[in-house]
């Protein structure tokens, strides 16, 4: 019985150590594996068959069926340009220029990584649905405020979850092989906080 208890303790210790390694590696991976470009982060080729096993595991948890380069580049933003976590009780704008590619889109996800519930069924804007300004750029508002949406209803906007952290994905399809060699320097839209409800 004592022996059994001892082996049970060993087993628990091994599991705890494995969990600790896995948790630490996940944190380190987030810190070092992603290429950062302002408020965006990207894995250069998330679906690639030659990726390492940590990338394979991270992608399986975050997006499961990601394409490899040069098919698509997937940028994600969890923070604004000031490096503060995106949260639904604040209103943001995304300002950028058209992106040279076959097509691109900007999508908002809730904390769990799912599309944000909204009566308007607007989950994303893409290079065909976004309204460009005269200079060829665009501005997209991210907000959960109904009054603000009424004010800007003719403009580009996507609803974000109320009082909850959220993330933004920028998908760029067929941007060209060369694009992937300069992911750190390419021009990407900026996410800026405009105001928060409690301010």
């Amino acid at each position: 019985m004592i022996l059994l208890r001892r082996y049970l303790l060993y087993l628990i210790a091994v599991i705890l150590i494995a969990v600790a390694f896995t948790y630490t590696s996940a944190k380190l991976y987030e810190e070092f594996a992603f290429i950062k470009n302002d408020n965006w982060q990207i894995l250069p080729s998330p679906g690639d068959k030659d990726r390492d096993m940590y990338t394979r595991a991270a992608v399986a948890m975050r997006g499961t069926f990601a394409l490899s380069k040069p098919e698509a580049a997937y940028f994600h933003a969890f923070n604004d340009i000031e490096d503060v976590k995106l949260i639904g009780n604040c209103t943001y704008n995304i300002i950028g220029d058209d992106i040279e590619s076959r097509w691109w889109s900007i999508t908002v996800y809730n904390e769990d990584g799912y599309l944000v519930e909204n009566d308007e069924k607007i989950y994303a804007l893409n290079s065909e649905t976004v309204d460009f300004n005269f200079e060829g750029g665009f501005e997209i508002f991210l907000t959960s405020e109904d009054n603000f949406i009424s004010e800007i209803s003719e403009k580009n906007w996507i609803r974000v979850p109320n009082d909850e952290h959220f993330s933004v994905a920028l998908r760029i399809y067929l941007p060209g092989e060369e694009y992937f060699s300069k992911l750190k320097r390419v021009d990407l839209p900026k996410i800026e906080k405009l105001r928060c409800k409690d301010e």
């Binding site: 091994v14 599991i15 494995a18 595991a57 069926f65 076959r102 996800y109 989950y123």
Partner: protein, 175 residues
């Protein structure tokens, strides 16, 4: 080194190995989790079509709201899979994911941009030579997933894209 330190080192090594096993098998387990209902929904070696994702869609995380997804879950253990579809006028791709979620092959408008498309998907180790009427893809695993993505753009062509998706055909060559 005293016995306590030896035991601790051994536990740490075994713990680390267990961690590597967890990391290694996470994608395969995710694939199994995503596909937990595939068999009962008769999706193996049959095509499936999904509506445009909405907030109710929780099958995979971070779905694209701009893409119509269709595809086939495949098992090419005994026979190759034949995939046939019409090519849409919008952006499209047919991508293959092995059992551990690797995207080992993608065909898109740069490879074929009009009319009909035919593809043959073979199992690992195959060296097919007699196919002349379509693309050949060899999967590194017997089981996996093919996904067809169609960009809906401003939605003006969504009916046609739905039609293409619904007519996507996947069948084992011998069946």
């Amino acid at each position: 080194m005293n016995s306590f330190l030896k035991k601790l080192s051994l536990l740490a090594i075994i713990g680390f190995l267990l961690h590597l096993i967890i990391i290694y098998y996470t994608p395969t387990l995710m694939m199994k989790y995503v596909g937990r209902n595939w068999e009962e929904q008769n999706m193996i070696n049959n095509s499936f079509a999904r509506d445009l994702p909405t907030s109710d869609f929780t099958e995979v995380i971070r779905p694209s709201a701009d893409i119509l997804y269709g595809g086939c879950v495949y098992d090419v253990t005994y026979f190759p899979l034949v995939i046939e579809t019409e090519v849409p006028e919008t952006y499209w791709s047919i991508s293959f994911f092995s059992e551990n979620t690797d995207n080992f092959s993608t065909v898109n408008e740069n490879s074929h941009n009009f009319g009909k498309l035919k593809m043959y998907l073979f199992g690992p180790g195959s060296t097919p030579t007699k196919v002349t009427d379509g693309f050949i893809v060899v999967s590194p695993s017997n089981k996996g997933l093919m996904l067809m993505r169609q960009f809906v753009g401003n939605g003006s062509n969504v009916e046609k894209l739905n039609e293409i998706q619904n007519n996507l055909n996947c069948k084992l060559q011998d069946s």
